[in-house]
């Protein structure tokens, strides 16, 4: 059975009528119309669906929509805009990171949550923070360059 669930996404409230067990990903993509988190695996193994809930990077593909409660959801589109980009978005453009680009949400959203808490991380700390996220095109080298660049920008 469906129920009405109100979600705060990128600063706005949205009410969706959904199965409480439905993963947040489908509410974001289909009910709220935000295409930025992607379906990659549905198993929390790849990161393509990553969003923030209250600043914590979570995998929306396995997070029941009913579990979000009053948590503030931020997607990649809510992280920054061309006019007011997040340093990671700037760094991604500067370093020309993506190839197909389908993995972007995993890296940027996870790195953004990490860099918000950890100033001046070492390369080893960055790698550990990003462990397990997938990029199939093999842009690993550029991803690390971009995260280091963003970390430097964030002081």
């Amino acid at each position: 059975m469906t129920q009405k669930i109100t979600l705060n996404v990128n600063g706005k409230n949205h009410t969706v009528d959904a199965d409480p067990d439905m993963p947040l990903l489908y509410a974001l993509r289909n009910d709220i119309g935000l295409n930025n988190p992607h379906f990659g695996c549905g198993l929390a193994q790849c990161g393509a669906c990553t969003v923030h809930v209250d600043g914590v990077a979570i995998r929306s593909c396995i997070t029941p929509v009913s579990s979000v409660g009053k948590g503030k959801v931020v997607t990649l589109a809510g992280l920054g805009t061309p006019e007011k980009p997040h340093p990671l978005q700037t760094a991604y453009v500067e370093e020309q990171v993506p190839q197909c680009g389908y993995c972007i949400n995993g890296w940027i959203m996870t790195a953004a949550a990490f860099l918000a808490k950890k100033k001046k991380p070492s390369e080893a700390e960055i790698k550990t923070a990003l462990e397990g996220i997938k990029c199939r095109c093999g842009t690993h080298v550029s991803i690390l360059k971009a995260v280091k660049r963003a970390a430097a920008m964030m002081g």
């Binding site: 020309q96 199939r136 095109c137």
Partner: protein, 765 residues
């Protein structure tokens, strides 16, 4: 929908703008009527047919002077459209920013083969270069008529044609926009009547001499990165149309099994859920995506009992060894009489190598949207061969080709004949059955478990050595599953799961390959043999093209073997190669890589390393359709765990003329990382019933924590040699370079990929 301007909009505008008569300058040598007639023959408001012999099929000058280039290939993330834009801007003498490249839309481009064989620039770019050059020639001719000046006294800059005026005099000028803006070229090209990669249709113009290039060769950035990081650009997974429903497919737990009983009542509680069951084809649709997923999971299906179709994984290579040969071919540069030469050998070196099935394992499983409306079909797909999908859907749905519109939209990776083509055909079957547009997305286990696989193979090499330590004969044979068990695209129903599950007559193709190098031995034979597929229909182990099809496996073997021979002769691996490699550009990449790396000349293995952690370096080199690559890998090995860290790479790369060095570097970087991944981790696991590699745990790829510390590039530019492609060549020698580095570090030769920790540990113990 995407925020990018759709070319169809441009077409409509072009028609609207295309009615203005040309202004004739004073002193024109021809009468107005003649001139108008002539110009109308070149430019017109109605679009000529979208055929390969029409200039307008490739190039249009818009009313505002910008240029649209219509490309029948597409970018797989390497910035190909930037390079094509550079080529078009260069030949037309317009600013780079004035050119927009539209890719892979069957409504405005001709079939140039899609993304295929690293031919984006080699063949696709060549055609765009010729078309742009011809467009410039025609425009200058039009300007000559308009300005009343011979064409050879005109010059073009920033899309404006000017007279070459004496010092102090005002030149006469006319812009491309004034000449033809908003109208179509109506210029015939000399088409070779081929479609696909080999399509070629030059005009009368000669392209520029490379020494005059100003835009080609520049490191121009991709403009699609910002839209991607700001979520302004749609992937094929993001497209929605009114009235659309969501589809999911259901695959059998035992490969080859088909549904015999489907209990639709098991999903009756799910709103809008419907079953589509046609012979072996089984899918569900629902209005909401989550409901389609629930229906897929809940539907009760009874499957036919079949014999387990596969050998157990441990028996795979024995199966290949014993399997009947379906086709054999000797290819490459053959020399002398190998068998006779071996009889005279003082020493024979032999080895056998093994390569597993590998998956495209795209970042996301395939997705396609098919809409059938008023006898017309629209399909949005991430397939890297949209024009072939158009052919396939036309045949599958019985709709004339011109009524099938396939739109390529960036997918979640591709890397060859991935699951994308099957998905488009499955979506079409669902859409036809339910009478609504269907967006079909596969599941992760279908994406990894059911995509066409890179073929598994074994490779036997032997070398005959004379008493002086010279190689007098070389014999190399690959035996494996075909690279075209299913073909490289979805144009034929029998090559798709939709066709195979619905019983079409099969036609499995045969193809493999031989090492691409320039070793000259007095006696040399390189050959391949293909074997039948393990299961002939709807097999999750059907084989097809995976990035650099069969290249990594063949060159893992051939370049490992060259190292083995060098080691057996106690010769440095580079010195050994340089004794026999004969083509100057090949020698140049090997030497360039060695110099950049700081190679110390000595035989492998390295001596005097003790302790748990050892390191080594290895080289491998190969050609690919004109491109030459030498790679040196430096690896660390933890002997206790068997874990390999591919720490540093030096790549020397010669693909002829470099169009965009930054794009080229990024492209090579991806090849190296994916190459390390395929070498160290990737192996499709299966049992006798099914593929068991179904996610990122059971099909691991290279993790970010394993990123090499450093990649050095030597990009050798040959402006005088047309570009020969970079999308795949540098993945080719990676496995052998790593294997050779492991040997250098440990003295142990690993002849089976992947070099997973367990396997390495076992090999070292």
């Amino acid at each position: 929908m995407t925020k990018m301007e759709k070319p169809t909009t441009i077409s409509r505008r072009a028609v609207l703008m295309g009615t203005g008569a040309l202004v004739v300058s004073v002193g024109a040598p021809l009468g107005l009527d003649v001139l108008l007639g002539m110009n109308n023959a070149l430019a017109q408001g109605t679009k000529p047919p979208l055929t390969p012999d029409q200039l307008s099929s490739y190039i249009a000058v818009n009313a505002n002077g910008t240029v649209s280039a219509f490309f029948g290939k597409m970018d797989m993330g390497h910035g190909l459209f930037v390079a094509v834009g550079q080529i078009v801007a260069e030949e037309l003498d317009v600013p780079f920013k004035a050119v927009k490249v539209y890719m892979g839309d069957t409504a405005n481009s001709v079939n140039q083969g899609g993304a295929s064989g690293s031919t984006g620039l080699q063949l696709g770019g060549k055609q765009m270069r010729m078309a742009a050059a011809e467009a410039r020639r025609v425009l200058v001719d039009m300007a000559a008529e308009k300005l009343g000046v011979p064409a050879d006294q005109l010059t073009v800059s920033n899309g404006v044609v000017k007279t070459i005026a004496p010092r102090g005099a005002m030149p006469k000028s006319v812009s491309y926009a004034d000449l033809i803006g908003g109208k179509y070229f109506n210029v015939q090209l000399e088409w070779n009547k081929a479609y696909g990669n080999t399509l070629y249709a030059p005009g009368k113009a000669k392209p520029k001499d490379p020494k005059d290039h100003k835009i080609v060769g520049k490191p121009i950035k991709r403009e699609d990165v910002a839209p991607k990081v700001f979520c302004q650009e749609d992937f094929c997974t993001d497209i929605k149309v009114p009235g659309m429903v969501h589809g999911r497919m259901i695959r059998p737990a035992v490969a080859g099994s088909v549904p015999v009983k489907v209990d639709e009542s098991s999903i009756k509680d799910i709103p809008g859920a419907k079953v589509v069951w046609q012979q072996g084809f089984l899918g569900v649709v629902a209005d909401k995506e989550w409901d389609a997923i629930r229906a897929m999971e809940k539907l009760k299906v009874e499957w036919s009992k079949v014999e387990p179709p596969f050998p157990n994984q441990a028996a795979l290579y024995d199966h290949i060894r014993k399997a009947p040969v379906r086709k054999r071919a000797e290819e490459g540069k053959l020399a002398g009489n190998v068998d006779e030469a071996f009889k005279t050998a003082a020493k024979v070196i032999e080895a056998e190598y093994e390569w597993p099935f590998q998956s495209h394992a795209c970042m996301g499983p395939a997705c396609a949207l098919v809409e059938i409306k008023d006898g017309k079909v629209n399909c949005w797909t991430g397939s890297q061969k949209s024009h072939f999908v158009q052919n396939g859907l036309s045949a599958q749905l019985g709709v004339p080709l011109e009524n099938v519109h396939v739109i390529w939209q960036t997918g979640p990776g591709s890397y060859g004949r991935s699951d994308a083509d099957d998905c488009a055909a499955d979506a079409a079957a669902l859409a036809k059955a339910v009478g609504k547009p269907v967006r079909l997305q596969y599941t992760r286990d279908q994406g990894t478990g059911w995509d066409p696989k890179g073929p598994a193979s074994i490779h036997r090499a032997r070398a005959a050595i004379d008493a002086q330590g010279n190689v007098i004969a070389y014999d190399f044979l690959s035996k494996g599953f075909s690279r075209v068990d299913v073909d490289t695209n979805g144009s034929k129903l029998f090559d798709t799961l939709a066709g195979q599950t619905q019983g079409v007559t099969l036609k499995s193709g045969d193809g493999f390959g031989v090492p691409a190098e320039s070793y000259e031995f007095a006696n040399k034979k390189t050959a391949w043999e293909t074997i039948p597929p393990l299961l002939d229909r709807s097999s999750p182990l059907r084989s097809s093209h995976l990035r650099d099809p069969v290249g990594p496996q063949i060159h893992f073997a051939s370049e490992s073997f060259m190292d083995e021979v060098a080691a057996a002769l106690n010769v440095d691996p580079i010195e050994f190669r340089l004794r026999y490699v004969k083509e100057p550009r090949d020698i140049a990449v090997i030497k360039a890589a060695a110099q950049k790396f700081g190679w110390d000349t000595r035989p492998s293995p390295r001596k005097g390393q003790t302790g748990a952690k050892v390191s080594g370096r290895g080289i491998a080199y190969s050609q690919r359709n004109g491109t030459r690559v030498a790679v040196i890998a430096q690896v660390d090995i933890d002997r206790a765990t068997g874990k390999i860290f591919a720490k540093r790479f030096t790549v020397a790369h010669d693909c002829g003329q470099i169009i965009n060095p930054d794009g080229l570097e990024k492209c090579i970087e991806g090849n190296i990382i994916q190459g390390i991944s395929r070498t160290l981790w990737e192996e499709v696991k299966f049992d006798n019933k099914k593929v068991t590699s179904v996610d990122w745990i059971s099909y691991p790829i290279l993790d970010i924590t394993e990123t090499p510390e450093k990649i050095d590039f030597v990009l050798i530019n040959h402006p005088e040699i047309p570009p020969s492609g970079a999308g795949e060549p540098s993945i080719r020698p990676i496995a052998a370079a790593i294997a050779n580095a492991i040997f250098d570090a440990t003295g142990v030769r690993i002849r089976r990929v992947p070099f997973s920790p367990d396997r390495v540990k076992a090999a070292l113990s």
